[in-house]
Symmetry: C4
Subunit: 361 residues, 4 copies
């Protein structure tokens, strides 16, 4: 039977994904302490539910940037989905569409913005941007996403360089170097024009050069805001001071995230970082969270601590590996179901009520 919970999903996926690729997806940076607390920190929090509340008119929908979604979750950007399944983003975007869940496409996706857009024209899609040192490549990708009907730009700020990932070093596995994740680059005119030559090696070398961008700073954010009419969301905020700066910079939304524990080991879990950021943001812009969301109760806890919605990463990637589009749909069906039950049994008739649920340490 199709696995129900995360640990079963993960172990089933480990049997169908080749070893090094599985290691890339599963693992975290360094000693995987942050990966570990991403889930265990949820367990430290307990919900104090309310009853006799009449939740028969349960409504789990959220509104984000003017659009309504039936569920309070999105799909996190995950690069190079071909590592998990041939159909990669095409399968995921269709599964997401079937549940009216927004899909965030990665810069380093296996299919290009245009291909993904074509596969699921009507559905809600956001584009995740990894900055390019050649800024014009960044703006070009953003423009392509805008033209393809994407509805938001997600700027990931925690990956200015690759984390220290021992599993990948051990497996000598570097997907970008093996040619994964280049679809958006080789379909980008600005990128292609910037190349001395268009052979595979030059392309890969140029991607590597562009994607290592330690200089990224708030000036780039300001310029990005000018270059697009789409809402700009920053992904990877963990410090309340950065949340403050983001709002000052006119950012439209924040994703509290530690990149699923993949970038820097020893950093705070996103659920632990959330309350201080929520206090800073204070409802002024949408606040999302990912890294470690595995169950309906995690959704309740994140909402209760101030998130407006959450994002799923590895769970849907494992669903993809196990069954392509259908696999992702099954994961989403289960997650949707558990989330609804969890909200109702916490006494929350809707998302606004969920944000008032009592937690205790």
């Amino acid at each position: 039977a199709f696995p129900l919970n995360f640990s079963d999903l993960e172990s089933a996926a480990s049997k169908v994904i080749p070893k090094a690729a599985f290691g890339y997806i599963r693992s975290g940076a360094g000693g995987e302490e942050t990966l570990r607390i991403n889930t265990t920190d949820f367990n430290k929090l307990s919900i104090v539910p309310r009853y006799l509340n009449d939740v028969s008119a349960a409504d789990t929908s959220i509104e984000l940037f003017g659009r309504t979604y039936p569920q309070p979750f999105l799909l996190s950007p995950v690069g190079m989905l071909k590592l998990a399944h041939e159909d990669a983003e095409l399968a995921v975007v269709k599964a997401a569409a079937s549940h009216q869940v927004p899909f965030i496409q990665s810069t380093v996706s296996s299919f290009s913005i245009e291909e993904v857009s074509k596969a699921s024209p009507g559905s809600s899609k956001w584009f995740q941007l990894y900055w390019s040192n050649n800024e014009n490549i960044s703006y070009s990708m953003v423009n392509r996403a805008e033209e393809a009907g994407y509805e938001a730009i997600v700027l990931t700020v925690d990956t200015i360089m690759l984390g220290w990932r021992e599993e990948d070093i051990r497996n000598s596995f570097s997907p970008l170097k093996e040619g994964y994740g280049k679809a958006n680059y080789i379909n980008d005119k600005v990128f292609l024009n910037s190349l001395p030559s268009q052979d595979d090696d030059s392309v890969i070398q140029a991607i590597l050069t562009n994607i290592f961008h330690p200089a990224l700073n708030w000036k780039h954010v300001e310029e990005l805001k000018k270059r697009t009419s789409l809402p700009v969301v920053i992904k990877g905020i963990l410090h309340p001071e950065d949340a403050k700066l983001a709002i000052e910079a006119g950012i439209d939304g924040i994703i509290v995230s530690n990149h699923g524990g993949r970038q820097m080991d020893g950093i705070v879990s996103s659920i632990e970082a959330l309350p201080r950021i929520a206090k800073e943001v204070n409802g002024r812009i949408p606040l999302l969270l990912d890294s470690g969301i595995r169950r309906g109760s995690d959704v309740v806890k994140a909402l209760a601590l101030g998130a407006d919605a959450v994002l799923l990463g590895r769970p849907y990637v494992y669903g993809l590996a196990l069954g392509g589009q259908e696999g992702v749909e099954k994961v989403l069906t289960n997650f949707k179901q558990e989330t609804s039950v969890s909200l109702a049994l916490s006494g929350a008739v809707n998302i606004k009520a969920a944000k008032k649920v009592t937690l205790t340490l």
Copy 2:
């Protein structure tokens, strides 16, 4: 030899109960985190015992709704006891009677109110009500219990819909759908009259429709109070605010419970929830607790934190599975013995003194 402690009871029972039924009994909702803390949270509390106290006149009796019981514990309502043993509630009620322990019969019991009553006419029995959407069925069952000499109505408020139980989904096991637990319905005239047809499928479908009752709210409680002269106890309270509302609604007793961790994962353990509720209730009505009671020291801790008595769930179900009525009696004999010793060795000569025992974190 008959197993002494819970983990031995559980593992012995796992060998005599069929797999899916055992999974149903043992398991908790979601990731079973609440099931887990139900017991581990007791371990975080330590008793600071008193000595040289003269406990030779030890008295472990309690008074509830005008009746005195020799032990400070009751039997929690557990549905479909035929899953554990053919004799089901009939065995349990007789075992309870032999120890003068009140038995709370579930709405979804394997034998009807009338059958249970007949099996043990003189003993103390309470009736646990799962609300029916067709309110008249609820009132009808309550009236039947009252007529059969039951002494209290326990309204369970945490099961407005079924929790997310992965073990059961994995085993494709739904006891209600398999026809377990219908005795009280098929013996209820109001229920039967409400049916389009009385074949098995219609009965089961009607039970499922009635038992999913997310609309339950305080208005129903008020009406229930009017419909019965028995004390009404609410089972499943975890939030002090709900305790306050219960008292305002004229409720006669509260059972702090998370349904043995079976309904909603990620919620607070009942022992952690207890102190704040005890503070709110402040002795105005009886305060009971279940979920995770396994030993005499747990009883002392619950009393010290404000409970007037506790309830046992799975321990007696496993006793039932292992030896029918006799098995339940053995579990009760051991539990009674350990409870008495624990109270004496904590320095408490009676239950009133137990409520003053010092705990330390």
Copy 3:
């Protein structure tokens, strides 16, 4: 080689002591949670050592009731030592003497006061009293100890009835019923005169009847004080209020103890109970501690939290099992050595300094 640390001692001993007897010695009451925290609670405390302190004149001696001992530890009373080794108390008292460590003999020892005294005439011995319901038996034993040159009476107050010991119930093992531990009774005239008949069964039955003494209270303590000129020490105090009452009753010393976790599960560890009691006692009478002492660092921690000395239980019993008198001596040699090094490396040149060592949680 002879085992160095507790876990090696315990596992070696488990191979030479018969199963039920080993279970009796090793186990704790109930779920053994208190047994477990007796050692793990020490690990929660960390010493913050001082250096450059000149500890070349290290002095680990203590003074108790006018007598000086070279080491800050004693041997706890342990009943029925024949369960561990034929030579029982005779071996232990001689080993203790060779290290100038006071030996506390149990009421239910395998050899009588007079036999033990004869085996090691000059050394420091205390007598531990289990109260007898027939008070004259209690006073008679106390008088015998006094006459035999014992130097203190230790009244154990936490064993008014036997704890709930599952290991022994499982093994159907009750050493008193099997005739162990009667030496002090069958050599006591008052006891013998109280018997209807002197056959084995009557003796054992009378011991069981006398040793179950839930009525013990402060009045008995006051009377005991009158009946002996020896210092009276109460063993088993865990609540600061009881420490206060002990001092008011004129008691000469206190042993903070939970009986090695054998009497009541779920109660506080003695090291956690110590600071509040030390605050109450405030140096007015000697304050000792047992239950969980396993290493030199435990001694430093207990002293730093206010104890004047500590007692060893199971460690020496396992030494006895492994090598009789010589086995106990080896345990003491190692413990002495580790204690000295630990005091020096904490920066404490003597016991007074040890009581000022900084701890941090």
Copy 4:
């Protein structure tokens, strides 16, 4: 492949180092609780990283006693490195030199000051002093180090006597007694002149006599300061009061250390001790830390809590065992790389910024 992280390093090293020697290197004092918390206490701390910070001009260099080093770490003094590899200190000092990392040579090294100095003349070397009861031997060694171009004296104060090391007792392993670690003594005229006879036994006996120095105190420190023009660093401080005395004594630097958990079990981890000491020192003199540093994130945490640099112990010893000089270099290459990435991904462009990184418990 060459192992990446500490646990792989340790298990690989266990296969190439003889059992007793490996036990000597790996183990901690007593029950190894301090050894354990040395690493787990780092995991209790979480970094709250900053982003969008422009870290392209990353600079991980530090300045110590007027000299600049490219990395914020040094190599801890480890005695008798021949236990790990024939080339011992000669390999390590050259590996350290190749990375411009200062090497601290132990008093009980396998090669003498002069040999080590000759092997790597230009590189930065410090000399770690174990006090000799014959003070002139201490001063003589210090002078030899000064003449050989060593740049600081590190006085270790936590080893006035050997800790209680069960692994070594079990293995009957005492490297000093087996003749390891005497190079600095047998090349020291003052030491040789102090001997009655120069045979092996006399040498070893004299080393043992001199190295047991419980009388060490602040007077010796004051005298030492007078006898050398080099900066004097005290290694082993854990109590803020000792840090205060060190500064009053004119000490030039402090290493917060518990000797890798090898000396006294049950004492505080160095990372837990750090903040109070940093508060006391308040930047007046360099503050270093070792014991438990395993990863780049540990470096960030130590700097954030007030250290100016950290030291590595066992990690490089295992590298030495696995590959001599090259093995040490590989360990340093990896550690350097992980440290750089960790600083950048915490948002710290240099060490000064690292000291302002936010941590959360």
